[in-house]
Every structure is written in structure tokens, then in C-alpha cells.
């Protein structure tokens, strides 16, 4: 239950961090908040030769408004996002979800870049990056490139990055919506979700103009349900809409089961959360 030996480097710039990873020749690992990596090191499930600690890089921690987007530095802690008035006003679904991100002590330390890179299928920030259609700025030996969130998550705990690439910042488009909701059920508050859903609705009179929906905890990656979004566009809102939405969501997701919950239960749960989320999203404005 102690990490195996490693070389430790704490570069002061992203350039130096990328260089350290390149020099490690595939044996390097990036340490951000450490709230997922340290357990893996303690269990010796991962044994990197070199640990590249990003915490000394000062300009990776920020939350700023850029026109119709909010940019968040990769090393920004969950707690800073939870407390940010800018996130509260511009990305309210994210703000509502942050209290579900693990526990206080984890949020004090964990980072958004680390959470996205770890790519847990039941973690809130990867799901939110899909929900918002975020783009990730990553840096590697050949410079910087932008990756869309929908291309970033490849499989459970697997992202599309090369071994020497680092997430630098994430840009979230600000959604125009009239109502939204975030719902999650975990076995214990702060645990990984058994099922979770984020919804936002833009309406024109009593018609759905646009809807955005993402789910997690039910597949190997979080999912944005574009098929459901398309089927609800230009649909008249009535008191059957939440049930109809719930049916659409559950029809296009086949849940995975594990020791925490069976596939049937997760599927059932997702349907209930979907209905509740749509009720809340529609109740915001008459």
C-alpha cells in the first residue's frame, strides 16, 4: 500500500513538463491533484519510472470568461470551480454538479485536468465536458492541439492522448437555455454515480426549440445522447413530455452492471432520473 520507487520532477512550465515526459520515454506519468493517481500508485497498479508533478506550474489554474465561452485551467481545483461565481452564472449545470464530485477533502485537491484525463465513466466532469461540448487544449512535443470532448474519451479510464501530451486548459461553450437540471444517485453521497443525467432545454412558447442531454454511470464512457436531442426538437411540450423523454433516454442506453448495481437497476434508475430532470428543466419557466 505504498508507491513503488520513482524519479520525481516538478517542472515550473508546461514546456518543461512535456520535455520531462518525452525524456521518460513512455515510462512517465503526470501528477495533477493526485486523487485518482495516488490510490493507483499506492496499490502499485501503476508503477511509473518518472512522476511529473504539475502543481508547481502556476499559470494552469484559472477560470476566465472568453466571449461566449468559459475557459478553465487544467490545474484548477474542484473546490475553486464549485465556489466560482463565474461558473455559477455562466455554467449553472456544472455549478450544480460540483457538490456531487467526491468529498470535500477530494475537491480541495482534485483538478479538472486530472479528472478529465483519468476519464472515469462515472465522474461528473468528463460527463459535463460532453454535455457542454467542451474542447480541450493539449500540449505535446510537437506543440498544442485542440481535442473535442466527444473525441477525448475512448473507453473506461482511457483518453485519446499520447503518453507525452498534457491537458492545458478546457473551454466550455455557454449554453443558452430556459431550464436545466442535474440528477445523480450514488450509494453514498460523493461516491461514483450509479446513474446521472444532465439536461437543459431551450423553448419557444410551448415548444422545445433545443434540448441537450448527457448521462453517465451506465456505459464505459459518459454519453451525450444526440439521438434523443434530435427527436425532441420542435416537439410541443405537454405533461407527457417528461415520460416521453425518459422513454427515449432509456431506449438508447444499455446500462452496464457491476458489484454496485445490476444493469437492470441502473437502467431503471436512469429512466427515473431522466423524468425528474425533465420535470425540473421544464418547471423553470412557464
Amino acid at each position: 500500500m505504498k508507491p513503488a520507487k520513482f524519479e520525481y520532477v516538478a517542472p515550473a512550465t508546461v514546456d518543461a513538463a512535456v520535455e520531462a515526459l518525452r525524456a521518460a520515454n513512455g515510462e512517465g506519468k503526470v501528477l495533477a491533484g493526485g486523487q485518482s493517481l495516488l490510490p493507483l500508485l499506492n496499490f502499485r497498479m501503476t508503477r511509473p519510472a518518472v512522476l511529473v508533478d504539475l502543481n508547481g506550474i502556476k499559470d494552469l489554474s484559472f477560470i476566465e470568461l472568453r466571449g461566449d465561452r468559459v475557459a478553465i485551467g487544467a490545474l484548477t481545483r474542484h473546490r475553486e470551480i464549485e465556489q466560482s461565481p463565474l461558473i455559477g452564472s455562466k455554467l449553472p449545470v456544472m455549478a450544480a454538479a460540483m457538490r456531487y464530485v467526491a468529498h470535500l477533502a477530494i475537491r480541495n485537491r482534485g483538478t479538472i485536468g486530472g479528472s478529465l484525463s483519468h476519464a472515469d465513466p462515472a465522474a461528473e466532469l468528463p460527463m459535463l465536458s460532453l454535455f457542454y461540448g467542451a474542447s480541450l487544449l493539449v500540449q505535446g512535443p510537437s506543440g498544442r492541439r485542440t481535442v473535442a470532448a466527444e473525441d477525448f474519451f475512448v473507453d473506461a479510464l482511457t483518453n485519446c492522448l499520447e503518453p507525452e501530451e498534457i491537458v492545458v486548459e478546457i473551454e466550455f461553450p455557454i449554453l443558452q437555455h430556459d431550464g436545466w437540471a442535474f440528477e445523480e444517485v450514488a450509494r453514498r453521497f460523493g461516491d461514483f454515480a450509479l446513474a446521472s443525467i444532465a439536461v437543459s432545454v431551450r423553448r419557444r412558447a410551448s415548444t422545445i426549440e433545443d434540448v441537450r442531454v448527457a448521462v453517465m454511470g451506465v456505459a464505459d464512457t459518459p454519453l451525450r445522447l444526440k439521438e434523443v436531442e434530435a427527436k425532441l426538437r420542435d416537439i410541443a411540450i405537454d405533461n407527457q413530455t417528461p415520460d416521453r423523454f425518459s422513454g427515449l433516454v432509456t431506449s438508447c442506453v444499455s446500462a452496464n452492471g457491476d458489484l454496485h448495481a445490476s444493469a437492470e437497476y441502473r437502467h431503471h434508475l436512469l429512466g427515473r432520473l431522466a423524468r425528474r430532470a425533465m420535470q425540473t428543466a421544464l418547471a423553470t419557466k412557464g
Partner: protein, 160 residues
């Protein structure tokens, strides 16, 4: 490979050379500095027993390397009060019987301190949500919640 770690723990400055980078902060506190008040339970960030304050924020000391604490100010349970002068939260834990075996108590107290400083704690739900990262196998949590509720009330009195 070894590094030097300079930290202030409970107001005392320590400069320790020859620290292996893989040494966890929890083991550094307990074994290098001899501050065994911080308990080690699961060593993978689930139980919360090893929680300490790093620069004022509660942190799992098993999920942080000692080298990462270089330059930081740390408060462990030894820094909250003394047996003859318990701090408010400790006194409420005694008053409300908020512990049985005591293994989780250092983490409960440190988490409670962080919660008292950061959250209104107006409802038991809020207290329970804040404590959700700390496991206790004896008490059933009722008296821990009661102790924090009482400490929050005392804090409110002190402010008004």
C-alpha cells in the same frame, strides 16, 4: 533519489532532508515527525481517517506525497487542542459522545473544522453531506453529527 522537505506543522517548522519522493504525507507525519495522531486507515482515499489541513484546506494525507507539502502549513489533530484545553469541536465530541474506538476521530475532527469554517451547516443534511467522505464503523454517525451541530451553534453564538 531523495529530497528535502520544509514544512510547518502545528506551528513548528521542520526541515527534513533525505525524504524519498514516494513517501506519503501520512507516513511523513506519523513516522518521520512522530505525530501519530493522524491515523492511517485505507491508504487509498476512501476512509478519511488521515485527513489533515494543508494551508487551511482538508486533504487526505495518504493521497499527497510529502514532497508536495514542501513549503506548506499543516494542521493535524495534535494542533487543534490539548487534553487539558480541548478546542470547541473536540469538547463537543466529548460532550455528545461523538466517538467510540477513536480510530476515525482525527479525520472527523479535521473535516469538521474545515466544514465549520466553510459552510453554514444550517441543517443535518448539510453536515452529513460534508462528512460523507469519512467512515466510522462504531457510532452510526448520530453523535458525530450532534457534536458538529453543537459546535456550529457555538460558532454562530460567538459571531452574533
Amino acid at each position: 533519489m531523495s529530497v528535502t522537505v520544509s514544512v510547518t506543522v502545528n506551528g513548528t517548522k521542520y526541515d527534513v532532508s533525505d525524504v524519498e519522493p514516494r513517501l506519503l504525507l501520512s507516513d511523513f507525519l506519523r513516522e518521520t515527525l512522530g505525530l501519530t495522531g493522524t491515523h492511517v486507515g485505507c491508504e487509498h482515499g476512501v476512509c478519511g481517517a488521515c485527513t489533515v489541513l494543508v494551508n487551511g484546506d482538508s486533504v487526505r494525507s495518504c493521497l499527497m506525497l510529502a514532497v508536495q507539502a514542501n513549503g506548506a502549513e499543516i494542521t493535524t489533530v495534535e494542533g487543534l487542542g490539548t487534553p487539558v484545553a480541548l478546542n470547541t469541536l473536540q469538547a463537543e465530541f466529548r460532550e455528545h459522545h461523538g466517538l467510540q474506538c477513536g480510530f476515525c476521530t482525527p479525520g472527523m475532527l479535521i473535516t469538521g473544522e474545515d466544514l465549520l469554517r466553510k459552510y453554514p451547516l444550517a441543517t443535518d443534511d448539510e453536515i452529513r453531506e460534508g462528512l460523507s467522505g469519512n467512515l466510522c464503523r462504531c457510532t452510526g454517525y448520530q453523535n458525530i453529527v450532534a457534536a458538529i451541530r453543537a459546535a456550529a451553534a457555538k460558532r454562530a453564538e460567538a459571531v452574533t
